[in-house]
């Protein structure tokens, strides 16, 4: 059952009226898994976005259903930018809070939750609550990263950053092996607000782990060539992948992945180059291609994202994938800065690896279980907004603060009204298997 709540009172009604299978907020449905699904229960969407900004302080408030794209289209003309953006502009603010999302600036700016000053939440009693990190730290940090299981977020207030151009200066560097990738990434992090590495999974042997490192910064002043000091954000409509593509044989398969990776690597100039780049092209490149998931065919793909303390643990995962024949179509490596206080927050100091693997790869379940073991033994974790297949015991080991989070959420929702398929699958809420 889906409830379209146009006013907060309708959210309250949906919570109070929740039946046995519970209720869950659903934003844009952009997580890679069952985080925004609630089989047999109610889903609440908040379709009418409201976004306000105080131009003097730069503090903004957005309703939970507003997307990053909608927020940017308000902020950018004021010379402001979101403190953190995930890899898609289609995510909602509620989703960004619930997953405590990170971006390419995590090494210096941390995650989304660290820029929040307040959250408005409907808790399990149906009460509207004002949460902030000073007065209600436990409720606040259980909600940030809490995957929507502590209540329904109505709005979030956050600090924005000033920008003086709607373009970024982006430097790309091609690297010859994994050590060079790590070194270039460290250098990019020191010199730039945004830094990330793409890894070419077609390379083996001595070239294993080679890739392209990009470092970016908002341009200091309006690009002179554009002649106007006005800043705008209009990412345009994506080019859609037609539905027939999704019904045919998968275009992304191990052979094409290797070709694509090789091409992508060689397309980057051998020597480091700096080019002005738009917000959309730098932060949200995949959004330019609508329904790109169709390229994976009917069986689709799974994304696996982990964070581990040492680069060797990243290599071990890449080796396990390659041994299992699970060639990743799109592989991203980045170093995280310090962890936020979110109890179920994903980022923590170390190296994050994100891979996209076609589901049709044989024995993929066993291969990803091997990755889980590498991650758990290294003291790392995988991202709850992306996992679709880990085990209950693994999650308990990856998230040592799960018990503390359950107690905090139980106070907000003693009757267990907030449920999701993700929570059921991984036994997240109290009463679930441990």
């Amino acid at each position: 059952m889906r409830v379209e709540a146009r006013r907060p009172v309708e959210v309250v009604e949906a919570v109070v009226g929740a039946a046995g299978r519970g209720v869950l907020a659903r934003g844009a449905g952009r997580s890679y898994n069952d985080a925004a699904q609630n089989g047999g229960g109610a889903l609440v969407t908040q379709p009418e976005p409201t976004i306000t900004i105080d131009p003097t302080t730069g503090r903004a408030t957005a309703s939970a259903g507003a997307t990053i794209e909608q927020v940017l289209s308000v902020l950018v003309p004021h010379g402001r930018f979101v403190p953190v953006t995930p890899g898609t502009r289609l995510a909602t603010i509620g989703g960004c809070v619930a997953a405590d999302v990170h971006g390419k600036n995590h090494h210096r700016d941390g995650s989304w939750g660290e820029h929040l000053t307040a959250i408005e939440l409907v808790d399990g009693h149906g009460d509207r609550r004002h949460l902030d990190p000073v007065a209600t730290p436990s409720e606040f940090w259980a909600t940030v990263g809490g995957m929507g299981l502590s209540g329904i977020i109505l709005s979030a207030t956050f600090d924005t950053i000033p920008i003086r151009s709607d373009q970024l200066a982006v430097t790309t560097t091609r690297t010859g092996d994994f050590d060079a990738t790590l070194a270039a990434l460290a250098e990019a992090e020191d010199g730039h607000r945004y830094a990330v590495a793409w890894v070419d999974t077609s390379a083996t042997g001595s070239r294993r782990g080679r890739g392209v490192v990009s470092g970016g910064d908002h341009l200091d002043a309006a690009d002179a060539a554009r002649g106007s000091g006005e800043m705008a954000y209009a990412p345009g409509s994506p080019i859609p992948v037609p539905p027939t593509v999704g019904r045919g044989p998968a275009l992304i398969r191990p052979a094409t992945i290797r070709w694509f990776n090789r091409l992508w690597y060689h397309k980057v100039p051998r020597r480091a180059t700096e080019v002005p780049t738009s917000i959309g092209a730098f932060f949200h490149p995949l959004d330019g291609l609508g329904r790109w998931n169709r390229l994976y065919g009917r069986r689709g793909f799974v994304q696996y994202q982990s964070v581990v303390p040492a680069p060797d643990d990243v290599l071990a995962q890449l080796d396990a994938l390659s041994a299992g024949g699970a060639t990743s179509a799109l592989t991203v490596v980045k170093r995280f800065g310090s962890a936020s206080p979110a109890m179920l927050g994903f980022p923590c100091p170390g190296w994050t690896l994100a891979v996209d693997v076609p589901t049709a790869v044989p024995r993929l379940a066993a291969t990803l279980d091997r990755l889980d073991r590498i991650v758990v033994e290294a003291g790392g974790r995988i991202y709850l907004a992306k996992d679709g297949r880990t085990s209950i015991p693994a999650v308990a080991r990856m998230y040592p603060r799960l018990g503390e989070w359950r107690r905090a959420v139980d106070k907000l929702d003693p009757q267990g009204r907030f449920q999701s398929d993700l929570a059921r699958r991984l036994g997240l809420r109290t009463g679930g298997p441990t």
Binding site: G20, R21, Y32, N33, D34, N38, G39, G40, G41, V302, T359, L364, A365, A366, L368, D369, D372, G388, R389, S391, I392, P393, A394, D421, L422, R424, R425, G427, G432, P433
Partner: protein
Amino acid sequence: MTNSLGAPGRILVLGGGSDIGQAIAARFVEDGGVQQVVLAGRRPGDMAERFDARRPQDDAAGTAQVATVDYDATQPGAAAKAIAAASADGDVDLIVVAAGVLGTDEHNRLAHRATELLGINLVAAVEAVMEAIDRFEAQGHGRLVVLSSVAGLRVRGGLATYGASKAGLDAFCRAMQQRLAGAGVDLLIVRPGFVHSAMTDGLPPAPFATDPASVAADVAAAVAAGRAVVWSPPVLRWVFAILRNLPEPIWRRVSGR
């Protein structure tokens, strides 16, 4: 919950002592992602022991636990109780309806023996299918695997009651599939041929005889593809396309083994 690779988190086998039912559960465990297998039957200790011997010794995560609950297909209401017991800790994602008996010559000749067999193979199985569908509709998802048989596609004299029970169950499930279209609940009808198992021990094998593990592999592939009917081995689909249309005198001759 069913995970993003299509693995059911919790499997319930109604008729947990059945070789084919166990083989299907073991196959999903081998493929990875299964957190719990619940075997429902009359002899818990024996079922669990046999399943442990059958399951892969090095399954992917090694995390699948085995539990047993009571289930006696001759008792009305047994399916509802078993499903409720299996769902106590969370959703059951896949239910295999596997309880059944082949019967002997007596079941084709004596009325009270025939109704006994129909009670297990048809009445209790229909009850199990309906209870499973109720549960799945309430939780918004679920996949049901029902063991039919090619013996129900064209019934022969030597298997009159068994064949009739499977014909009835198969027809009922076909009709249920119409109702379930778009409900988020899948029902797979399995039509195996002769399967070497405890049920057929000592009988002369029919052509295209198979084994429980092969049936399980066909079932796992059909579940993944979301199919409505699976024949095992698949060639039987074409064999029975012919057998079903044979004129009666010829059918009597070829079936009267």
